[in-house]
C-alpha cells in the first residue's frame, strides 16, 4: 500500500478555498477524500453533500469525510492515516494565515503520508492589492512562494487584459509555480489533486476540459528519471501535471509525479505500464519541447 497523497489547499480568507473544496468533493468520482479544515465554521461543506455530522466529523456523500483539526494538525493527520476505511486522498484546507510549506513539512514527517502538492488560491480581484497590505501582504506572498500550483479564483470577474497583467505579475514573482484559473472553484481533480490514471498511454485524451490538454508520451530508452522529472517541471514546458512510468537508468521502472514545480520520483514494487500522461493548459503545453526531451507522443 503506497503512501496516502495529501494536497494542501492554501490561500488568504476569501480566496475561495471552501468553494474549491466543495467543487472537488462534487467530482470525487468514487474517490474517498478526507478533508481537514481548521474548524467547522460557517458551511465548510455544502449542505446537500452532507450525510451526517457530529462534533468531530462530517460524513459526505460518496464516502468522503471532513474533520476539523483546530490547533493540532499533526494529530489529526495521524488519525486520518489510520482511519478506516482508509481514505484515497487527504486534502488540508489551511487557515488563511497558515504557511502551506510548513504544513507540508508536517505531513512529510508522517511515514504513511506524502505531500502530493500545494495549491494556493489567489483572488484575481484583489490579490495584488492584498499583497501590498501592511499587515498580511508578506503572509500572502510567502504563501504564494510555497505554491506548486497557483489557482486564480474569480478569474471571470476581471477582464482578459487585466488577467494577463496579473498572470505576468505572478510569473515574474513566482516563476516556478504554475498558474491556472479557477472559476467558481471549477478545477478538475486531475489538476487539483493529480487524480488521473497516469500509467497507461491509452488514457491519453481521457481528459475532457476545454481549458486543459493532456498528452500521452512514451520513452523507449532508459533515462535518469530524476533528471527527466526536473526537466518536466521547467515552466517553459507548460505542464501543470504529469504522471506515469519510465524506465530509469538503474533498470528499474520509475514513477514520475509532477504537480506544478513539485516532482516526485519513486520506484514502486508493482509498476504500471510504461508511459507518461502530461496535462497542461491548452495552448501553453509545448509538444515539441516534450519531443526534444526524447518523449514520443502517442
Amino acid at each position: 500500500m503506497g503512501a496516502l497523497p495529501v494536497t494542501i489547499v492554501s490561500g488568504y480568507l476569501g480566496a475561495g478555498k471552501t468553494t474549491l473544496v466543495n467543487q472537488m468533493l462534487r467530482q470525487a468520482d468514487g474517490a474517498k477524500i478526507a478533508v481537514l479544515v481548521n474548524e467547522f465554521g460557517e458551511l465548510p461543506i455544502d449542505e446537500d453533500l452532507i450525510e451526517a455530522r457530529d462534533d468531530e466529523l462530517i460524513s459526505i456523500a460518496g464516502g468522503c469525510i471532513c474533520c476539523s483539526f483546530g490547533s493540532d494538525l499533526a494529530a489529526a493527520l495521524k488519525q486520518m492515516a489510520e482511519y478506516q476505511p482508509r481514505p484515497d486522498h487527504i486534502v488540508i484546507e489551511a487557515s488563511g494565515v497558515a504557511m502551506p510549506g510548513a504544513i507540508a513539512q508536517t505531513v512529510d514527517l508522517i511515514p504513511e503520508l506524502r505531500v502530493e502538492g500545494i495549491c494556493v488560491l489567489a483572488d484575481s480581484l484583489n490579490i495584488r492589492k492584498m499583497s501590498g497590505d501592511e499587515y498580511i501582504g508578506d503572509t500572502i506572498e510567502r504563501q504564494l512562494s510555497d505554491a506548486d500550483l497557483i489557482l486564480l479564483s474569480k478569474a471571470d470577474l476581471v477582464d482578459q487584459a487585466d488577467l494577463e497583467v496579473l498572470q505576468d505579475w505572478l510569473a515574474e514573482h513566482w516563476p516556478c509555480a504554475r498558474v491556472v484559473t479557477a472559476v467558481q472553484g471549477q478545477v478538475p481533480n486531475a489538476v487539483l489533486l493529480g487524480r488521473f490514471a497516469g500509467g497507461e498511454t491509452r488514457s491519453a485524451g481521457q481528459f475532457a476540459d476545454d481549458k486543459y490538454q493532456s498528452l500521452a508520451v512514451r520513452l523507449e530508452t532508459p533515462v535518469d528519471a530524476r533528471k527527466l522529472a526536473q526537466r518536466l517541471a521547467e515552466p517553459s514546458l507548460g505542464l501543470v501535471r504529469a504522471k506515469g512510468f519510465v524506465r530509469d537508468i538503474s533498470g528499474r521502472p520509475a514513477l514520475i509525479q509532477l504537480a506544478g514545480q513539485r516532482t516526485e520520483v519513486t520506484f514502486p514494487e508493482k509498476p504500471g505500464a510504461a508511459g507518461l500522461v502530461c496535462i497542461g493548459l491548452k495552448g501553453r503545453i509545448d509538444p515539441r519541447a516534450l519531443q526534444e526531451l526524447g518523449l514520443g507522443i502517442s
Binding site: 488568504y12 480568507l13 476569501g14 481548521n38 474548524e39 467547522f40 465554521g41 460557517e42 476539523s68 483539526f69 483546530g70 490547533s71 493540532d72 494538525l73 499533526a74 494529530a75 495521524k78 487557515s95 488563511g96 494565515v97 504557511m99 510548513a102 513539512q105 508536517t106 512529510d108 514527517l109 508522517i110 511515514p111 501592511e134 499587515y135 498580511i136 508578506d138 503572509t139
Partner: protein, 547 residues
C-alpha cells in the same frame, strides 16, 4: 452567627487608598470585615483575636494575570533550566550550567525510574545561556540508549531528544528534508526538534502529552502549591482548550475544601469559529464558581520576539530576520471582537510585536463603535514593544495592558543585541509610559515561561535589570508602590475582579499574601528576595511550610 477572627500583623499594606495601612484585619465568612486598629474592629462584636501573623506583613493576595497551569504539569518532569528555581514542594533546584551538568541531572532522575525503558522528560532547557551550545542526541544518549528522552526548551518551541526517542517516532533515518529537524554530519537528525509540529511524532514517546494547554489534575494541584509559596491567591490559566473533561476536573479540584487559589482560565480561540467560540464561552461562564472563573477568551495574534515569530512594524528585526507569523487573520480577529463585545465577553489578546498590537487597536476601535461597551477592559497581553502612542490609544479605547516585566530580566540582553536592537529593547515592556498614558496596567510572569513570583515580577519592573546585570531602560522603571499595585489591583482590574480581590478592605475576599518582610521598607533591589510565609485565601490559612 458567623465567627469573626481578627488577625494582628506587624503591618498590613491594604492597597486601599482610603486607608493604606492597618495593624489588624477582621475576617468573617471568608471575607474582610474591616482593616484598622483592634479597637475599631472590636466594634463588630464578639471575635477571636489571632496573633499568628503578629510579626508578619500582610498584603492583598497577589493576582497573576498571565500564567499557565502547565507550570504545575511540567514539575512532574526534570527541571533543566539555567536559573535556580523552586518547585511546588519547596525544593530549589540549581540551574543547569553545562551539557555535562544536564546529563548528570538526567542520569540521577533516570536512576530513580527503576526499569530501563520508562521515558524520561525534562523542561526549561535554555542553551542561549550556554553560548547557544547545541545539545545533541548523542549527549542525551549518554543518559540512556534504552529509554526515550525528551527535553523541552524554555521557549516551549524546541525539544531535544535522544536516539531512542527518534527511533520510536520513526525519525531515526537519513533523508529528512525539514528545516525544523536539523541533521547531523551523519545525515541523521541531530536530536533537535524545532516547533510543536515536529515534536508531535515524538511527544507521546517522551511523556509530553499533546494537549499541554490543558491542566492535568496533578499539575493543577502542584500549580496551587506554587501559588501559596509565592503569595498568589488569584491566577489566570491564560490559554486553555477547556475540553469538557478538563473543565469537570478543574471544577472538582478547585471545589475541594483545601484548594488554595482562584483560577481564571481563558478559552483559547483556536478550533472554533468565532460564532461557536462565543457560544462556548457563554456556556462555560455559567459553570463558574468562586474559585474557577470561566467565561473569557484568549486570542493569540502573533508569535514571540526571541523566536522571531512576533509581528514587528518597520524596521523589523535587528538581525534582519523576516517578519513573524500571524496566528489569527485580521478579519477573524475583528469578527471575534465584534461578537465578543456584542455578547459582553471579555477578550485578552497576545501581542508581542508592535505590529500585532497595532492591529488589535485598529480592529477594536470600529468594533467598539458598532457595539459600544463602556467597561469592556479588553486586554493586550505581553504588548512588549508598544510605544507611547499605542499606549495612549489603548487607554482611549478602554483597554488594559499586561506587560511582561520578567522578560526583561531573562531575555533583555538578547533583545538588545539581537532581536530588536538597543532602542526598542530599551522601551520594551514600558511600564512607566503605560502608566503615564493612563492605561490600566498589570505585569506578569507568563509561568512556566518564567517562574511564577509576583514579587519577582514587581522587582523586575522596578529595577529593569537584565540577567547580565545591566539596567535596561531606566526611564521605564516604576516605583515600588506602583509595582505592588500592578500585582494586586492592577491585575485584578484586567479581570473585572478588582471589586472582589486585590485590596484588603471591607467586603472583599479575605485573600492575603503573608510576607516575612515589608516590601515598602526594603531596598527596591531586595523586593524579589522577600520571603513568603504563605497565603490566606477566602479566610483559609495556607502555610508554605505545611504544603
Amino acid at each position: 452567627m458567623s465567627q469573626t477572627v481578627i488577625y494582628s500583623a506587624r503591618k498590613i499594606i491594604t492597597m486601599n487608598r482610603s486607608r493604606p495601612h492597618a495593624s489588624h484585619v477582621a475576617v468573617r465568612d471568608g471575607r474582610v470585615l474591616g482593616a484598622g486598629t483592634l479597637d475599631e474592629l472590636s466594634t463588630w462584636g464578639e471575635h477571636t483575636l489571632d496573633d499568628r501573623f503578629a510579626d508578619k506583613i500582610l498584603m492583598p493576595g497577589f493576582v497573576e494575570g498571565h500564567a499557565h497551569t502547565m507550570e504545575g504539569s511540567l514539575w512532574s518532569k526534570v527541571y533543566c533550566g539555567w536559573f535556580d528555581r523552586t518547585d511546588p514542594d519547596g525544593k530549589t533546584w540549581d540551574g543547569v550550567k553545562s551539557v555535562d551538568a544536564l546529563v548528570e541531572r538526567l542520569k540521577e532522575a533516570a536512576d530513580k525510574l527503576g526499569d530501563s525503558e520508562t521515558p524520561l522528560s525534562g523542561w526549561q532547557l535554555d542553551p542561549i545561556y550556554m553560548n547557544n551550545q547545541r545539545v545533541t542526541r548523542q549527549d542525551l544518549d549518554r543518559v540512556s540508549t534504552t529509554r526515550p528522552i525528551g527535553i523541552l526548551h524554555a521557549s516551549g518551541h524546541i525539544m531535544n531528544v535522544n536516539t531512542k526517542a527518534l527511533e520510536l517516532a520513526g525519525l531515526m533515518k537519513t533523508g529528512i528534508n525539514n528545516a525544523a529537524i536539523p541533521l547531523g554530519d551523519d545525515g541523521y537528525p541531530m536530536g533537535e526538534l524545532k516547533g510543536p509540529e515536529v515534536m508531535t511524532p515524538v511527544g507521546p514517546h517522551v511523556d509530553f502529552e499533546r494537549n499541554m494547554l490543558d491542566a492535568d489534575e496533578g499539575g493543577l494541584r502542584r500549580f496551587a502549591k506554587l501559588c501559596v509559596r509565592t503569595g498568589t491567591t488569584t491566577i489566570t490559566d491564560l490559554a486553555s482548550r477547556l475540553d469538557p473533561d478538563t473543565v469537570d476536573m478543574m471544577l472538582r479540584v478547585t471545589g475541594e475544601a483545601d484548594y488554595p487559589a482562584r483560577i481564571v482560565p481563558l478559552r483559547f480561540f483556536m478550533g472554533l469559529s468565532p460564532e461557536d467560540l462565543i457560544a462556548e464561552v457563554l456556556r462555560l461562564r455559567d459553570l463558574s464558581t468562586d474559585l474557577l472563573r470561566l467565561g473569557r477568551i484568549k486570542v493569540v495574534a502573533d508569535g514571540s520576539i526571541q523566536g522571531f515569530s512576533a509581528r514587528l512594524r518597520w524596521p523589523g528585526y535587528h538581525n534582519g530576520a523576516p517578519n513573524g507569523l500571524w496566528y489569527v487573520a485580521p478579519e477573524q480577529l475583528s469578527e471575534i471582537f465584534h461578537r465578543a463585545l456584542e455578547a459582553g465577553v471579555q477578550v485578552h489578546t497576545h501581542t508581542n510585536g508592535d505590529q500585532a498590537t497595532q492591529l488589535v487597536l485598529e480592529k477594536l476601535a470600529p468594533a467598539l463603535q458598532a457595539h459600544p461597551h463602556p467597561d469592556h477592559r479588553f486586554t493586550l497581553q505581553h504588548c512588549q514593544l508598544a510605544d507611547a502612542a499605542q499606549f495612549r490609544q489603548a487607554a482611549k479605547l478602554g483597554m488594559c495592558v499586561n506587560l511582561f516585566a520578567n522578560h526583561h530580566y531573562y531575555w533583555g540582553d538578547e533583545h538588545y543585541t539581537l532581536t530588536v536592537g538597543p532602542d526598542r529593547a530599551t522601551r520594551m515592556n514600558a511600564c512607566r509610559t503605560a502608566l503615564d498614558a493612563g492605561v490600566p496596567m498589570a505585569i506578569h510572569s507568563d509561568a512556566p515561561v518564567t517562574p511564577l513570583g509576583p514579587l519577582f515580577t514587581a522587582w523586575a519592573a522596578v529595577n529593569r535589570l537584565t540577567a547580565s546585570g545591566r539596567v535596561q531602560g531606566e526611564e521605564e522603571r516604576i516605583t515600588v508602590e506602583e509595582a505592588l499595585w500592578a500585582i494586586t489591583m492592577g491585575a485584578a482590574y484586567t479581570l473585572h475582579l478588582e471589586g472582589e480581590v486585590g485590596s484588603i478592605e471591607t467586603g472583599k475576599k479575605a485573600d492575603f499574601a503573608v510576607l516575612e518582610e515589608d516590601p515598602t521598607a526594603c531596598s527596591p533591589g531586595d523586593l524579589k528576595d522577600i520571603p513568603v510565609w504563605g497565603t490566606v485565601q477566602g479566610g483559609r490559612i495556607f502555610a508554605a511550610s505545611d504544603l
